[in-house]
């Protein structure tokens, strides 16, 4: 009997809590609706397409390839990113550069963004700081799966 009362008490307490939330939030919603600015908002929702949440500085977003001063890719096609990539979404083909100081540059650099898991290992592995994931670009959806294969020109721009 005692337990039963405890049970009913908690049930009622639960609905009082939700009702309190309702009434308090409704109060602030109403204030906001009539244009009264309050410190507290009725909801924590971010209205996404119009209102974007702040992306942290270290957030891992779409990749980009860095350039040298003369505009050539900084990448030397060492393929360490390809090696370390756990989802095997990077493919590189190297070619020989006439400049003996550079020697090697990527002629093909493909990232299959549909397989990428954004772990950032490629950035960590890169010995030349050639690949970074700091574009802040997170809207990557495409209508065509082939558009998710990013190539060298795209990654450099």
């Amino acid at each position: 009997m005692f337990r039963l009362f405890g049970y009913f008490f908690e049930i009622i307490r639960g609905s009082v809590i939700t009702a309190r939330h309702f009434i308090v939030n409704l109060f602030f919603h109403t204030l906001n609706l009539f244009g009264i600015k309050t410190k507290r908002k009725g909801a924590f929702t971010i209205q996404y397409p119009e209102q974007k949440s702040e992306i942290a500085e270290r957030h891992r977003s779409l990749h980009r390839l860095m350039k040298r001063e003369n505009g050539k890719p900084r990448c030397v096609a060492c393929m360490l990113c390809q090696t370390v990539c756990p989802s095997e979404c990077i493919y590189i083909e190297a070619a020989e550069d006439p400049d003996p100081e550079i020697q090697k540059y990527p002629s093909t650099f493909l990232i299959d963004i549909s397989r990428c898991c954004f772990c950032g290992f490629c950035v960590e592995a890169c010995p030349e700081d050639a690949i970074r994931m700091d574009t802040g670009e997170v809207e990557l959806a495409q209508y065509n799966k082939d558009d998710l294969m990013l190539d060298l020109d795209f990654l450099l721009s």
Partner: protein
């Protein structure tokens, strides 16, 4: 025999052995860069320093000979400090461009730094700049910055090929490897320099920047490009399916087997013909069974039935002698044994010929004049290696079966082409897509030796077994599989072909029948 103690464990070795070899025998690796088994010790890298009891300073393991009761320590504090010091000096002038170095991943210097080094360099000076891209001939590129002056390449060209194109120029800190003027390296074993170089100083245009060596898978095989049958590794990549990159062989490297000493010394090297002649494994391969009357890729069963039916018809008409067979010495022992069993013993054909041998120039080291892998095996199995007698082959012939496996093109066999139309039914077993395939009624794709198991008998009479390394392209199956099913299909001696599921099953039969293979 002398008893010595390495890290307090006793081991008995022959007199005159060096400490490094003795330690290797005891299973202890002493790091070394300039020392190579094929050459006498040089002692230029100083990596192999060990502590020997009673000696005032550290000794070189590669050139110190053992002495009774010698006590060697390879992992003391002193030794480790010395190794670190040596590595630091070597790396002081090393460019550290591992990202663009083809050797990275199998580089001795990298491995040793990982194992014994891991220091912060004390050198603050700018590194010295040298030539990074020097053409030294035969597609080899020398990078003088990376060179650690172990002189392995110089010694190889001096002692093994005896051509001596490379040398060490200048003295002391300015010393560098180079060629004499415009006398570029030009010998058939130059490719070995790439493997021999402990760092990435000598790289190979053929492999340069194509891929990284840790992506490659290695499979042991036997080189089929001459009758020496060198032991090789085939290094390939199975392909990146998502990026539409197919399977591909990237390079061939030598494989050291230690069966007997003479073979072992030669076993470090392979010739450039074998090293760079791998493109046939990927290029122009026949993938589908083509039955001309069907005009579409046929099933395996259809091809077997077609073949069996044609032969059985001849058997019923008692006109077996109207059938001709052309074999070649690219086939393995097992396949030749099966061919002999079917064509010579079961069917008792007279018209069994061999295609012309591919020949080339012989040299003193490894390369032989006969550029097919298994002539000796064919002879031991009982074939006479007779050239095609055109008159005899095409006279009244109704069924012709040709085995063609040479990757070197058609050669003089193109002379047969105009005659082929005289024969009613022509069947071709080949791994390659060649122009003359269209002239045959049935083209059956087969495998090259890298894709099938079996054995070759080399020119010295050594039987060398190998396993399949690469996956077969398309519908292609090994010749021995086709021959086993053909043997069953003609139903002359059905039971003999039962239970032949692997090449070694055939080899076991061979061992029973032929003295040579026992």
């Amino acid at each position: 025999m002398v008893e010595i103690f390495i890290n307090d464990s006793a081991i008995k070795v022959k007199e005159g052995t060096t400490v490094l070899k003795a330690a290797e025998k005891a299973g202890i690796h002493i790091p070394h860069i300039c020392f190579h088994d094929a050459f006498p010790p040089e002692g230029s890298c100083r990596m192999c320093l060990v502590e020997i009891e009673g000696h005032p300073c550290l000794e070189l393991a590669c050139s110190t000979q053992v002495r009774e009761g010698m006590k060697v320590y390879t992992e003391t504090e002193n030794v480790r400090d010395a190794r670190k010091g040596v590595l630091e000096f070597i790396l002081a002038e090393h460019p550290m461009d591992c990202p663009i170095c083809d050797k990275a991943g199998e580089c001795t210097l990298q491995d040793y730094y990982e194992q014994y080094g891991l220091f912060e360099s004390d050198f603050l000076e700018e590194k010295e700049r040298k030539d990074k891209k020097v053409d030294i001939g035969k597609g080899l590129i020398l990078d003088r910055e990376r060179c650690v002056l172990c002189t392995r390449c110089v010694r190889f060209l001096r002692d093994i090929t005896k051509t001596g194109e490379l040398g060490v120029f200048e003295r002391g800190v300015r010393s560098e490897i180079g060629i004499f003027g415009d006398q570029y390296i030009d010998n058939n074993y130059a490719g070995n320099l790439v493997e021999l170089c402990p760092v990435g100083a000598i790289t190979d245009k053929d492999f340069r920047f194509k891929t990284r060596n840790w992506f490659l898978k290695k499979g042991a095989s036997v080189c089929p490009l001459c009758s020496r049958g060198c032991q090789i590794f085939i290094e390939y990549h199975p392909g990146f399916a998502r990026f539409k990159v197919p399977k591909r062989v990237y390079r061939i490297s030598s494989r050291v087997t230690s069966r007997d000493q003479s073979q072992k010394e030669k076993g470090y090297w392979i010739c450039d013909i074998g090293r760079y002649g791998y493109s046939y494994m990927d290029k122009d391969r026949a993938e589908n069974i083509i039955l001309k009357q069907k005009n579409r890729p046929a099933e395996r069963g259809e091809a077997e039935a077609f073949l069996g039916e044609k032969i059985k018809k001849l058997i019923y008409r008692n006109k077996l002698q109207r059938m001709g067979v052309v074999l070649n010495t690219w086939l393995t022992n097992e396949e030749l044994f099966l061919a002999r069993k079917i064509f010579t013993l079961d069917l008792e054909l007279e018209k069994v010929f061999f295609t012309e041998l591919d020949t080339g120039e012989k040299d003193d080291l490894l390369l032989t004049a006969d550029r097919t892998p298994n002539k000796k095996g064919a002879e031991e199995i009982g074939f006479e290696i007779n050239q095609i007698e055109k008159q005899k082959l095409f006279d009244e012939t109704e069924l012709l079966i040709v085995f063609w496996s040479s990757p070197f093109g058609l050669g003089s066999i193109t002379e047969l082409l105009p005659e082929l139309s005289k024969v009613r039914t022509k069947i071709l077993f080949t791994p390659f897509k060649r122009k003359w395939n269209d002239a045959f009624d049935l083209v059956i794709p087969t495998l090259v030796s890298a894709e099938k198991g079996g054995s070759f008998t080399n020119i010295d009479g050594k039987v060398q077994h190998f396993d399949a390394v690469l996956s077969p392209p398309g519908e292609a199956r090994a010749e021995w599989e086709w021959l086993v099913s053909l043997g069953k299909e003609i139903e002359v001696d059905f039971n003999s072909y039962l239970g032949m599921k692997f090449p070694y099953d055939v080899y076991k039969k061979m061992k029973d029948k032929i003295e040579f293979f026992r």
